[in-house]
Protein backbone atom coordinates (compact mmCIF):
# COMPACT_ATOMS: atom_id res chain seq x y z
CA UNK A 1 0.00 0.00 0.00
CA UNK A 2 2.74 2.46 0.95
CA UNK A 3 4.52 1.98 -2.38
CA UNK A 4 1.92 0.54 -4.73
CA UNK A 5 -0.59 3.40 -4.53
CA UNK A 6 2.01 6.13 -5.20
CA UNK A 7 3.28 4.09 -8.17
CA UNK A 8 -0.29 3.79 -9.46
CA UNK A 9 -0.87 7.54 -9.05
CA UNK A 10 2.34 8.28 -11.02
CA UNK A 11 1.32 5.86 -13.77
CA UNK A 12 -2.22 7.24 -14.14
CA UNK A 13 -1.24 10.92 -14.01
CA UNK A 14 1.74 10.52 -16.37
CA UNK A 15 -0.18 8.35 -18.84
CA UNK A 16 -3.19 10.69 -18.89
CA UNK A 17 -0.98 13.69 -19.64
CA UNK A 18 0.74 11.87 -22.51
CA UNK A 19 -2.56 10.58 -23.93
CA UNK A 20 -4.09 14.07 -23.59
CA UNK A 21 -1.37 15.43 -25.89
CA UNK A 22 -2.23 12.91 -28.61
CA UNK A 23 -6.03 12.77 -28.04
CA UNK A 24 -6.98 16.32 -27.04
CA UNK A 25 -10.65 15.40 -26.55
CA UNK A 26 -12.87 14.66 -23.54
CA UNK A 27 -12.10 13.26 -21.09
CA UNK A 28 -8.32 13.33 -21.69
CA UNK A 29 -7.91 16.93 -22.85
CA UNK A 30 -9.74 18.32 -19.83
CA UNK A 31 -8.01 15.95 -17.43
CA UNK A 32 -4.63 17.05 -18.78
CA UNK A 33 -5.48 20.73 -18.15
CA UNK A 34 -6.81 19.98 -14.66
CA UNK A 35 -3.75 17.95 -13.70
CA UNK A 36 -1.51 20.86 -14.68
CA UNK A 37 -3.57 23.19 -12.44
CA UNK A 38 -3.50 20.67 -9.58
CA UNK A 39 0.26 20.45 -10.01
CA UNK A 40 0.61 24.24 -9.52
CA UNK A 41 -1.50 24.08 -6.36
CA UNK A 42 0.42 21.17 -4.85
CA UNK A 43 3.68 22.95 -5.72
CA UNK A 44 2.54 25.85 -3.49
CA UNK A 45 1.99 23.35 -0.68
CA UNK A 46 5.59 22.27 -1.32
CA UNK A 47 6.64 25.90 -0.66
CA UNK A 48 4.67 25.74 2.62
CA UNK A 49 6.45 22.50 3.44
CA UNK A 50 9.80 24.20 2.78
CA UNK A 51 8.86 27.14 5.02
CA UNK A 52 7.64 24.81 7.76
CA UNK A 53 10.83 22.81 7.63
CA UNK A 54 12.90 25.99 7.78
CA UNK A 55 11.04 27.17 10.91
CA UNK A 56 11.36 23.74 12.52
CA UNK A 57 15.11 23.41 11.98
CA UNK A 58 16.08 27.00 12.79
CA UNK A 59 13.60 27.19 15.66
CA UNK A 60 15.17 24.14 17.31
CA UNK A 61 18.67 25.56 16.76
CA UNK A 62 17.63 28.93 18.23
CA UNK A 63 16.04 27.41 21.35
CA UNK A 64 19.09 25.20 21.96
CA UNK A 65 21.55 28.06 21.38
CA UNK A 66 19.72 30.58 23.56
CA UNK A 67 19.54 27.98 26.34
CA UNK A 68 23.29 27.44 26.14
CA UNK A 69 23.98 31.20 25.99
CA UNK A 70 21.88 31.80 29.12
CA UNK A 71 23.68 28.97 30.91
CA UNK A 72 27.01 30.50 29.89
CA UNK A 73 25.91 33.93 31.17
CA UNK A 74 24.73 32.42 34.47
CA UNK A 75 28.17 30.87 35.04
CA UNK A 76 29.63 34.30 35.70
CA UNK A 77 27.29 34.75 38.68
CA UNK A 78 25.73 38.05 39.78
CA UNK A 79 23.08 39.69 37.57
CA UNK A 80 23.16 37.26 34.64
CA UNK A 81 20.66 39.20 32.44
CA UNK A 82 23.02 42.20 32.48
CA UNK A 83 25.95 39.92 31.75
CA UNK A 84 23.96 38.36 28.89
CA UNK A 85 23.31 41.79 27.36
CA UNK A 86 26.95 42.91 27.64
CA UNK A 87 28.32 39.61 26.32
CA UNK A 88 25.56 39.32 23.73
CA UNK A 89 27.72 39.89 20.60
CA UNK A 90 30.27 37.38 21.88
CA UNK A 91 27.66 34.75 22.77
CA UNK A 92 25.82 35.36 19.51
CA UNK A 93 28.76 35.13 17.11
CA UNK A 94 30.50 31.87 17.89
CA UNK A 95 31.49 32.48 21.53
CA UNK A 96 29.82 29.32 22.82
CA UNK A 97 32.10 26.36 23.40
CA UNK A 98 29.57 23.73 22.28
CA UNK A 99 29.40 23.68 18.47
CA UNK A 100 25.72 22.61 18.46
CA UNK A 101 24.60 25.92 19.91
CA UNK A 102 27.04 28.27 18.17
CA UNK A 103 25.03 29.58 15.22
CA UNK A 104 21.85 30.41 17.13
CA UNK A 105 21.99 34.11 16.24
CA UNK A 106 22.12 33.34 12.52
CA UNK A 107 19.03 31.15 12.96
CA UNK A 108 17.37 34.09 14.68
CA UNK A 109 18.21 36.28 11.66
CA UNK A 110 16.75 33.66 9.30
CA UNK A 111 13.52 33.44 11.30
CA UNK A 112 13.22 37.23 11.66
CA UNK A 113 13.63 37.70 7.90
CA UNK A 114 11.22 34.88 7.19
CA UNK A 115 8.43 36.08 9.50
CA UNK A 116 8.85 39.76 8.58
CA UNK A 117 8.57 39.01 4.86
CA UNK A 118 5.73 36.56 5.45
CA UNK A 119 3.71 39.00 7.56
CA UNK A 120 4.31 41.88 5.11
CA UNK A 121 3.14 39.72 2.20
CA UNK A 122 0.27 37.73 3.68
CA UNK A 123 -1.24 40.72 5.51
CA UNK A 124 -0.39 43.10 2.62
CA UNK A 125 1.00 45.58 5.17
CA UNK A 126 1.21 49.15 3.94
CA UNK A 127 -0.44 48.23 0.64
CA UNK A 128 -1.93 51.43 -0.84
CA UNK A 129 -4.99 49.52 -2.18
CA UNK A 130 -5.55 47.49 1.00
CA UNK A 131 -6.57 43.83 0.82
CA UNK A 132 -7.65 44.07 -2.81
CA UNK A 133 -4.37 45.53 -4.02
CA UNK A 134 -1.62 43.57 -5.72
CA UNK A 135 0.81 42.13 -3.17
CA UNK A 136 3.76 43.53 -5.16
CA UNK A 137 2.28 47.04 -5.40
CA UNK A 138 4.87 49.83 -5.00
CA UNK A 139 4.89 51.46 -1.52
CA UNK A 140 3.65 48.25 0.06
CA UNK A 141 5.91 46.87 2.79
CA UNK A 142 6.34 43.57 0.91
CA UNK A 143 7.74 45.38 -2.14
CA UNK A 144 9.91 47.56 0.09
CA UNK A 145 11.36 44.44 1.72
CA UNK A 146 11.89 42.96 -1.72
CA UNK A 147 13.76 46.07 -2.90
CA UNK A 148 15.85 46.52 0.24
CA UNK A 149 16.59 42.90 1.19
CA UNK A 150 15.76 40.24 -1.40
CA UNK A 151 16.96 42.14 -4.46
CA UNK A 152 20.31 43.45 -3.07
CA UNK A 153 21.10 40.06 -1.54
CA UNK A 154 20.30 38.12 -4.70
CA UNK A 155 22.01 40.54 -7.08
CA UNK A 156 25.16 40.79 -4.93
CA UNK A 157 25.35 37.01 -4.50
CA UNK A 158 25.40 36.65 -8.28
CA UNK A 159 27.68 39.67 -8.71
CA UNK A 160 30.14 38.04 -6.31
CA UNK A 161 30.56 35.32 -8.89
CA UNK A 162 32.23 37.88 -11.19
CA UNK A 163 35.33 37.68 -8.99
CA UNK A 164 35.33 33.91 -8.91
CA UNK A 165 34.76 33.79 -12.66
CA UNK A 166 37.81 36.04 -13.07
CA UNK A 167 39.91 33.62 -11.04
CA UNK A 168 38.46 30.62 -12.91
CA UNK A 169 39.10 32.26 -16.27
CA UNK A 170 42.78 32.66 -15.38
CA UNK A 171 42.98 28.89 -15.03
CA UNK A 172 40.71 28.10 -17.99
CA UNK A 173 42.35 30.57 -20.36
CA UNK A 174 45.73 28.92 -20.30
CA UNK A 175 45.72 27.44 -23.79
CA UNK A 176 47.12 24.03 -22.93
CA UNK A 177 45.27 22.05 -25.62
CA UNK A 178 43.37 22.62 -28.88
CA UNK A 179 40.04 22.44 -27.03
CA UNK A 180 41.11 24.98 -24.38
CA UNK A 181 42.37 27.30 -27.16
CA UNK A 182 39.01 27.12 -28.97
CA UNK A 183 37.22 27.95 -25.72
CA UNK A 184 39.61 30.84 -25.06
CA UNK A 185 39.32 32.31 -28.57
CA UNK A 186 35.51 32.03 -28.61
CA UNK A 187 35.10 33.66 -25.20
CA UNK A 188 37.51 36.42 -26.24
CA UNK A 189 35.59 37.11 -29.48
CA UNK A 190 32.26 37.19 -27.63
CA UNK A 191 33.54 39.45 -24.85
CA UNK A 192 35.23 41.82 -27.28
CA UNK A 193 32.41 41.72 -29.83
CA UNK A 194 29.77 42.77 -27.32
CA UNK A 195 31.67 45.87 -26.19
CA UNK A 196 32.46 49.16 -28.02
CA UNK A 197 36.14 48.16 -27.97
CA UNK A 198 35.38 45.32 -30.39
CA UNK A 199 34.03 47.68 -33.03
CA UNK A 200 36.89 50.12 -32.39
CA UNK A 201 39.79 47.68 -32.91
CA UNK A 202 38.49 46.43 -36.28
CA UNK A 203 37.02 49.70 -37.58
CA UNK A 204 39.91 50.05 -40.10
CA UNK A 205 38.79 46.98 -42.07
CA UNK A 206 37.52 47.62 -45.62
CA UNK A 207 33.84 47.12 -46.45
CA UNK A 208 34.55 43.91 -48.41
CA UNK A 209 36.00 42.32 -45.24
CA UNK A 210 33.31 43.63 -42.89
CA UNK A 211 32.30 40.07 -41.99
CA UNK A 212 35.67 39.77 -40.23
CA UNK A 213 35.06 42.67 -37.82
CA UNK A 214 34.84 41.48 -34.23
CA UNK A 215 31.15 42.37 -33.67
CA UNK A 216 30.12 40.54 -36.89
CA UNK A 217 32.34 37.62 -36.02
CA UNK A 218 30.77 37.46 -32.54
CA UNK A 219 27.29 37.51 -34.09
CA UNK A 220 28.24 34.70 -36.48
CA UNK A 221 29.77 32.59 -33.70
CA UNK A 222 26.61 33.03 -31.63
CA UNK A 223 24.26 32.27 -34.52
CA UNK A 224 26.00 29.28 -36.13
CA UNK A 225 28.64 27.19 -34.27
CA UNK A 226 27.31 28.10 -30.82
CA UNK A 227 23.78 27.23 -31.94
CA UNK A 228 24.98 23.91 -33.38
CA UNK A 229 26.62 22.95 -30.07
CA UNK A 230 23.57 24.06 -28.11
CA UNK A 231 21.31 21.98 -30.33
CA UNK A 232 23.45 18.89 -29.83
CA UNK A 233 23.27 19.42 -26.06
CA UNK A 234 19.51 20.12 -26.13
CA UNK A 235 18.81 17.00 -28.21
CA UNK A 236 20.94 14.92 -25.82
CA UNK A 237 19.13 16.31 -22.79
CA UNK A 238 15.74 15.74 -24.43
CA UNK A 239 16.56 12.08 -25.08
CA UNK A 240 17.61 11.70 -21.44
CA UNK A 241 14.48 13.41 -20.10
CA UNK A 242 12.18 11.35 -22.34
CA UNK A 243 13.81 8.09 -21.26
CA UNK A 244 13.71 9.12 -17.59
CA UNK A 245 10.05 10.18 -17.81
CA UNK A 246 9.13 6.80 -19.28
CA UNK A 247 11.07 4.99 -16.54
CA UNK A 248 9.23 7.01 -13.89
CA UNK A 249 5.78 6.55 -15.43
CA UNK A 250 6.04 2.79 -15.86
CA UNK A 251 7.54 2.41 -12.39
CA UNK A 252 11.11 1.31 -13.15
CA UNK A 253 12.53 4.43 -11.48
CA UNK A 254 11.30 4.48 -7.86
CA UNK A 255 13.99 6.40 -5.98
CA UNK A 256 11.63 9.35 -5.38
CA UNK A 257 9.60 7.11 -3.04
CA UNK A 258 12.52 6.86 -0.61
CA UNK A 259 12.97 3.98 1.82
CA UNK A 260 10.28 2.07 3.74
CA UNK A 261 11.65 2.97 7.15
CA UNK A 262 9.16 5.66 8.20
Amino acid sequence: MRRQIPLLITLIVGAVLIIAAFIPRAPFGRLGENFSLYFDIIAVFAFLLGGGNLVRIHGARLVRGVGMAVTEAKKGGGAWPLRFVIEFPFLAFGGLKDRRGRDWFFSLITLLGFFAMLAAGLLKLGNPSGWQGNVTAPEGMFQDFYDSMFNPLQATMYALLAFFVASASYRAFRAKSAEATILLVTAFIILLGRTPAGAYVTAWMPESLSFLTVPNLANWVMAIPNLAGQRAIIIGIALGVIAMSLRVIIGIERTYLGSDEK
Binding site: G14, V44, G51, P89, M149, A228, I242
Partner: protein, 257 residues
Amino acid sequence: MTEQTVERRAIWYLLGFLAVVLAFVLSMALKGFTQQGFYVTLGAFLTLSILSFLYKDNIFYKMAEHLFVGVSAAYWMVMGFWSVMVPNLIGKIHPPAVKPFMPAIASQPASYWYLIPAVLGIMLLWRLMPKGAWIARWALAFIVGTTAGLNFIRYMASDLLGQINSSMVPLVVIQNGSLDIMTTISNLVLFLGVFCGLIYFFFSKEHKGVFGVGSKIGIWILMVTFGAGFGYTVMARISLLVGRFRFLFDDWLGLLK
Protein backbone atom coordinates in the same frame (compact mmCIF):
# COMPACT_ATOMS: atom_id res chain seq x y z
CA MET B 1 40.83 29.95 26.18
CA THR B 2 41.48 31.51 29.59
CA GLU B 3 38.80 33.54 31.36
CA GLN B 4 40.76 36.73 30.66
CA THR B 5 41.01 36.01 26.93
CA VAL B 6 37.29 35.30 26.74
CA GLU B 7 36.50 38.60 28.47
CA ARG B 8 38.86 40.50 26.18
CA ARG B 9 37.27 38.95 23.11
CA ALA B 10 33.80 39.71 24.50
CA ILE B 11 34.75 43.40 24.81
CA TRP B 12 36.07 43.52 21.25
CA TYR B 13 32.89 41.88 19.97
CA LEU B 14 30.79 44.42 21.88
CA LEU B 15 32.81 47.35 20.49
CA GLY B 16 32.55 45.97 16.94
CA PHE B 17 28.82 45.47 17.33
CA LEU B 18 28.36 49.04 18.60
CA ALA B 19 30.50 50.40 15.75
CA VAL B 20 28.28 48.69 13.15
CA VAL B 21 25.11 49.97 14.82
CA LEU B 22 26.62 53.48 14.95
CA ALA B 23 27.58 53.34 11.25
CA PHE B 24 24.05 52.23 10.38
CA VAL B 25 22.49 55.06 12.38
CA LEU B 26 24.95 57.58 10.87
CA SER B 27 24.05 56.44 7.37
CA MET B 28 20.36 56.82 8.18
CA ALA B 29 21.04 60.29 9.60
CA LEU B 30 22.61 61.28 6.28
CA LYS B 31 19.36 60.25 4.62
CA GLY B 32 17.36 62.32 7.11
CA PHE B 33 15.94 59.41 9.13
CA THR B 34 13.28 58.70 6.51
CA GLN B 35 11.71 55.33 5.77
CA GLN B 36 13.30 55.34 2.33
CA GLY B 37 16.65 56.17 3.95
CA PHE B 38 16.31 53.15 6.20
CA TYR B 39 15.59 50.83 3.27
CA VAL B 40 18.49 52.21 1.20
CA THR B 41 20.87 51.88 4.18
CA LEU B 42 19.67 48.34 4.79
CA GLY B 43 20.24 47.48 1.11
CA ALA B 44 23.74 48.99 1.23
CA PHE B 45 24.58 47.19 4.48
CA LEU B 46 23.48 43.86 3.00
CA THR B 47 25.36 44.51 -0.27
CA LEU B 48 28.57 45.27 1.64
CA SER B 49 28.00 42.26 3.89
CA ILE B 50 27.86 39.91 0.90
CA LEU B 51 30.87 41.57 -0.75
CA SER B 52 32.84 41.15 2.50
CA PHE B 53 33.11 37.45 1.57
CA LEU B 54 35.88 38.49 -0.82
CA TYR B 55 38.06 39.05 2.25
CA LYS B 56 37.01 35.81 3.97
CA ASP B 57 33.98 34.05 5.41
CA ASN B 58 32.82 36.30 8.27
CA ILE B 59 29.85 37.05 10.50
CA PHE B 60 28.47 39.79 8.24
CA TYR B 61 28.40 37.46 5.26
CA LYS B 62 26.83 34.72 7.38
CA MET B 63 24.16 37.11 8.64
CA ALA B 64 23.31 38.27 5.11
CA GLU B 65 23.33 34.70 3.84
CA HIS B 66 20.95 33.52 6.58
CA LEU B 67 18.69 36.51 6.03
CA PHE B 68 18.57 35.67 2.32
CA VAL B 69 17.43 32.12 3.10
CA GLY B 70 14.59 33.32 5.33
CA VAL B 71 13.49 36.18 3.10
CA SER B 72 13.51 34.15 -0.13
CA ALA B 73 11.55 31.26 1.46
CA ALA B 74 8.89 33.69 2.64
CA TYR B 75 8.89 35.56 -0.69
CA TRP B 76 8.06 32.43 -2.72
CA MET B 77 5.48 31.34 -0.14
CA VAL B 78 3.70 34.68 -0.33
CA MET B 79 3.81 34.75 -4.14
CA GLY B 80 2.44 31.20 -4.29
CA PHE B 81 -0.28 32.03 -1.78
CA TRP B 82 -1.63 35.12 -3.56
CA SER B 83 -1.14 33.98 -7.15
CA VAL B 84 -2.17 30.31 -6.88
CA MET B 85 -3.63 29.36 -3.52
CA VAL B 86 -6.22 32.14 -3.24
CA PRO B 87 -7.53 32.31 -6.85
CA ASN B 88 -7.04 28.67 -7.92
CA LEU B 89 -7.79 26.77 -4.73
CA ILE B 90 -9.85 28.74 -2.19
CA GLY B 91 -11.52 30.69 -4.99
CA LYS B 92 -12.55 27.46 -6.73
CA ILE B 93 -13.70 25.46 -3.68
CA HIS B 94 -15.50 28.27 -1.84
CA PRO B 95 -15.58 31.46 -4.01
CA PRO B 96 -17.32 33.76 -1.44
CA ALA B 97 -14.30 33.29 0.86
CA VAL B 98 -12.08 35.31 -1.48
CA LYS B 99 -14.50 38.25 -1.83
CA PRO B 100 -12.46 40.61 0.40
CA PHE B 101 -9.32 40.01 -1.72
CA MET B 102 -10.52 39.23 -5.25
CA PRO B 103 -14.16 40.28 -5.73
CA ALA B 104 -14.01 39.56 -9.47
CA ILE B 105 -13.84 35.79 -8.94
CA ALA B 106 -16.06 35.60 -5.85
CA SER B 107 -19.23 35.02 -7.89
CA GLN B 108 -18.00 32.10 -9.99
CA PRO B 109 -19.54 28.65 -9.35
CA ALA B 110 -17.75 26.35 -6.91
CA SER B 111 -15.78 23.40 -8.27
CA TYR B 112 -15.32 20.64 -5.73
CA TRP B 113 -12.83 18.81 -7.94
CA TYR B 114 -10.26 21.14 -6.45
CA LEU B 115 -10.59 19.30 -3.16
CA ILE B 116 -8.25 16.72 -4.76
CA PRO B 117 -5.16 19.01 -4.85
CA ALA B 118 -6.17 20.41 -1.44
CA VAL B 119 -6.14 16.93 0.10
CA LEU B 120 -2.92 15.98 -1.72
CA GLY B 121 -1.33 19.26 -0.55
CA ILE B 122 -2.26 18.54 3.07
CA MET B 123 -0.86 15.04 2.64
CA LEU B 124 2.39 16.60 1.43
CA LEU B 125 2.55 18.75 4.58
CA TRP B 126 2.32 15.53 6.60
CA ARG B 127 6.09 15.21 6.19
CA LEU B 128 6.41 17.74 9.01
CA MET B 129 4.73 15.28 11.40
CA PRO B 130 6.95 12.99 13.47
CA LYS B 131 5.09 9.87 12.27
CA GLY B 132 3.47 8.81 8.99
CA ALA B 133 5.84 10.66 6.64
CA TRP B 134 4.98 8.03 3.97
CA ILE B 135 1.57 9.72 3.57
CA ALA B 136 3.35 12.53 1.70
CA ARG B 137 4.32 10.04 -1.01
CA TRP B 138 0.87 10.23 -2.59
CA ALA B 139 1.25 13.93 -3.26
CA LEU B 140 4.87 13.45 -4.28
CA ALA B 141 3.77 10.72 -6.71
CA PHE B 142 1.30 13.18 -8.26
CA ILE B 143 4.02 15.84 -8.63
CA VAL B 144 6.49 13.34 -10.13
CA GLY B 145 3.85 11.85 -12.45
CA THR B 146 2.77 15.28 -13.70
CA THR B 147 6.36 16.38 -14.23
CA ALA B 148 7.17 13.16 -16.10
CA GLY B 149 4.05 13.35 -18.29
CA LEU B 150 4.46 17.03 -19.13
CA ASN B 151 8.21 16.75 -19.73
CA PHE B 152 7.79 13.72 -21.97
CA ILE B 153 5.61 15.68 -24.38
CA ARG B 154 7.37 19.04 -24.01
CA TYR B 155 10.87 17.68 -24.59
CA MET B 156 9.72 15.39 -27.38
CA ALA B 157 7.96 18.20 -29.28
CA SER B 158 10.18 21.23 -28.80
CA ASP B 159 13.61 19.96 -27.77
CA LEU B 160 13.92 16.74 -29.75
CA LEU B 161 11.76 16.96 -32.88
CA GLY B 162 11.79 20.78 -33.00
CA GLN B 163 15.58 21.06 -32.84
CA ILE B 164 16.13 18.25 -35.36
CA ASN B 165 13.62 19.90 -37.70
CA SER B 166 15.37 23.28 -37.38
CA SER B 167 18.73 21.67 -38.16
CA MET B 168 17.52 20.27 -41.49
CA VAL B 169 18.75 23.21 -43.56
CA PRO B 170 19.71 23.32 -47.27
CA LEU B 171 23.45 22.62 -47.58
CA VAL B 172 23.77 24.40 -50.94
CA VAL B 173 22.05 27.78 -51.06
CA ILE B 174 21.41 29.42 -54.43
CA GLN B 175 20.34 33.07 -54.34
CA ASN B 176 19.36 34.91 -57.57
CA GLY B 177 20.92 32.16 -59.69
CA SER B 178 24.32 32.16 -57.98
CA LEU B 179 25.82 30.33 -55.03
CA ASP B 180 25.42 32.17 -51.70
CA ILE B 181 28.78 31.19 -50.21
CA MET B 182 28.31 32.66 -46.73
CA THR B 183 24.90 31.04 -46.13
CA THR B 184 26.12 27.75 -47.58
CA ILE B 185 29.14 27.72 -45.22
CA SER B 186 26.96 28.71 -42.27
CA ASN B 187 24.42 25.97 -43.00
CA LEU B 188 27.17 23.40 -43.44
CA VAL B 189 28.74 24.37 -40.10
CA LEU B 190 25.31 24.27 -38.44
CA PHE B 191 24.31 20.86 -39.81
CA LEU B 192 27.69 19.20 -39.36
CA GLY B 193 28.10 20.83 -35.94
CA VAL B 194 24.84 19.33 -34.65
CA PHE B 195 25.64 15.97 -36.26
CA CYS B 196 29.20 15.80 -34.87
CA GLY B 197 28.03 17.04 -31.45
CA LEU B 198 25.57 14.15 -31.33
CA ILE B 199 28.32 11.72 -32.40
CA TYR B 200 30.36 12.88 -29.40
CA PHE B 201 27.41 12.05 -27.09
CA PHE B 202 27.02 8.57 -28.59
CA PHE B 203 28.89 6.24 -26.27
CA SER B 204 27.71 2.86 -27.59
CA LYS B 205 30.45 2.80 -30.24
CA GLU B 206 34.16 3.40 -29.72
CA HIS B 207 35.30 6.82 -30.96
CA LYS B 208 37.80 5.59 -33.56
CA GLY B 209 38.32 6.08 -37.31
CA VAL B 210 35.75 8.23 -39.13
CA PHE B 211 33.52 8.11 -36.06
CA GLY B 212 36.43 9.39 -33.97
CA VAL B 213 37.00 12.30 -36.38
CA GLY B 214 33.30 13.21 -36.09
CA SER B 215 33.55 13.00 -32.32
CA LYS B 216 36.64 15.26 -32.32
CA ILE B 217 34.83 17.90 -34.41
CA GLY B 218 31.90 17.50 -32.01
CA ILE B 219 34.17 18.38 -29.06
CA TRP B 220 35.40 21.50 -30.89
CA ILE B 221 31.84 22.63 -31.56
CA LEU B 222 30.92 22.04 -27.92
CA MET B 223 34.00 24.03 -26.85
CA VAL B 224 32.77 26.95 -28.98
CA THR B 225 29.41 26.71 -27.19
CA PHE B 226 31.04 26.60 -23.77
CA GLY B 227 33.31 29.52 -24.69
CA ALA B 228 30.32 31.60 -25.82
CA GLY B 229 28.42 30.64 -22.65
CA PHE B 230 31.46 31.54 -20.55
CA GLY B 231 31.80 34.93 -22.26
CA TYR B 232 28.13 35.72 -21.70
CA THR B 233 28.28 34.61 -18.07
CA VAL B 234 31.26 36.86 -17.41
CA MET B 235 29.44 39.82 -18.98
CA ALA B 236 26.23 39.14 -17.03
CA ARG B 237 28.06 38.92 -13.71
CA ILE B 238 30.13 42.05 -14.40
CA SER B 239 26.97 43.91 -15.34
CA LEU B 240 25.35 42.84 -12.03
CA LEU B 241 28.44 43.99 -10.18
CA VAL B 242 28.31 47.36 -11.93
CA GLY B 243 24.66 47.58 -10.87
CA ARG B 244 25.57 46.97 -7.23
CA PHE B 245 28.35 49.57 -7.30
CA ARG B 246 25.98 52.03 -8.94
CA PHE B 247 23.54 51.39 -6.10
CA LEU B 248 26.25 51.96 -3.49
CA PHE B 249 27.77 55.09 -5.04
CA ASP B 250 24.58 56.63 -6.38
CA ASP B 251 21.51 55.55 -4.38
CA TRP B 252 23.33 55.23 -1.06
CA LEU B 253 26.25 57.68 -1.04
CA GLY B 254 24.92 60.01 -3.75
CA LEU B 255 28.38 60.45 -5.33
CA LEU B 256 27.33 60.00 -8.96
CA LYS B 257 24.93 62.91 -9.12
